[in-house]
């Protein structure tokens, strides 16, 4: 009986430790992605920049794309319905640098005015 109790106790402890580790990983991952998203957001500057060149409409978010030199899609910010920037892409290099919290948008901390995004989408002809 004692042996079984000890085993049960060890299992509960192990699961509790795993919960702590899992939550720590979740926070750390979210913080890292938010940092990268914020960096790309800074590179974009004002949303209504003259370099705004294209859009993307997907069910889970809408994206604004900004031109740099010859690259029409150099910088991209993807914003969900709540105004959270859930994905940002920097395509200025050979390989796109992607920061994303698509899987966990509730932990995205970089925000923009959704109404402003919609206005710019309309300006680009995305929303009729």
């Amino acid at each position: 009986m004692r042996r079984w109790l000890a085993v049960a106790g060890a299992v509960v402890l192990a699961l509790a430790a795993l919960v702590v580790v899992g939550r720590h990983e979740r926070s750390r991952h979210a913080a890292s992605e938010n940092r990268k998203i914020a960096e790309i957001r800074r590179l974009v500057g004002p949303l209504d920049s003259p370099s705004l060149d294209a859009f993307r409409l997907l069910p889970q978010f809408s994206c604004l794309l900004y031109k740099r030199r010859d690259n029409r899609f150099a910088l991209e910010l993807c914003v969900d319905a709540q105004g959270r920037v859930v994905e940002a892409i920097d395509r200025r290099g050979r390989t796109p640098r992607i920061a994303s919290l698509r899987e966990d948008p509730s932990h995205a901390t970089v925000r923009v005015e959704r109404a402003e995004v919609d206005r710019l989408l309309r300006k680009l002809g995305a929303l009729s």
Binding site: L18, G22, R23, R56, L65, D104
Partner: protein, 384 residues
Amino acid sequence: MPRRRPRAGPFVALGAFVTLALVSSAWSARTGWTERRSGALLLLAVAGSALAAATAARPEAVRRILEALVAAAAIVALLGLYLLWVSHEQAVQSASVQYPARYRGIGQNPNTVPLLLALAVPLTLWLWTEARARSRKALVAGALLLFDGSIVASGSRGALIAALAGAIVWVVTLRRPWRLRLALLAAAATVFAADVAITQIPKPLSPAAVHGASGPHRVVKDAELVVPLEDELGRPGKGAPPIRRTLFGTSGRARAWDGALHQIARRPVAGFGFGTEQFAFVDRYYGFDSSVPENSYLGVALQLGVVGLAALLILLGALAAVAVRALRTLTGRALAAAQACASVVVAGVVLGLTQSYLTSPGNLASSTFWIAALCLPALAAENV
């Protein structure tokens, strides 16, 4: 008469895996999804365990279960043919520049139903040897032909390989003279080679047939029409020929698996939470067309980290140990049923290398795999 109970090892391992799935809602990226999916997994585990408990040391009862699995697969395959008759467009995925036309039957995509049929192939081989009446043998042979034909028409290479793996295990474990087993292995290899050759007959569309006349150059504002997010990585340069599916190509899976490994490394120990595979994995890979990495082991590592992957491998190992014990100690019809179940397990494990399905309770093949796998500890039951 002594009471018998199924071997405990696999059930302890299964309980540990299901517990991990349930507890992962505490750190999940999508708590609601994790709760629902882990709940469904729990139901599947309970159902499979209950069947095993009810059929402990009762090979005839296990036989009925396996027959039912084959019958279910046959119904799915026949429904596919019916859909082909009623609506060709629904039953067949049109050809593209990358893929030839592929049969999908009632499946969501051409790989869906072949998952189930690949697991049904070794069970059908077993049923054929068990059948005594000629009419029954003919019926089972017809089912085998239906399964093989459906897999070939779908062009699913993973399912073909898995079916072959299951057939090989079944043949190798037969208690027959080695010459006969060698001949059967040669026959299986020949059928496999013929199947592969047939899958190469339909061709993808030529790029010239797809590109219409080019009009005046227009600046397209919708980036999704120019560089879709799901085709961003590995995109060929301008003027390069499009990727076409080849016999030994991975259909973009190699890049997708590399991407999945990088994503796993972001939350390596505990993962993103059970049931979040299609959220944690994002298809950005040119030539790859799926919302999941199409590898059950990477899928589990994404969901439950290395801890979850280890738990799954321990579970499969426990099943393998019970299978080996059963094959060594059982005789007669119990042995024949154990051979069939072991073949399904091997086919399923191989299939997991190219398809994300093993821990998806709603998937057609997942329940077939686990029900057949949990019959093994039932067949190898020990005295209480």
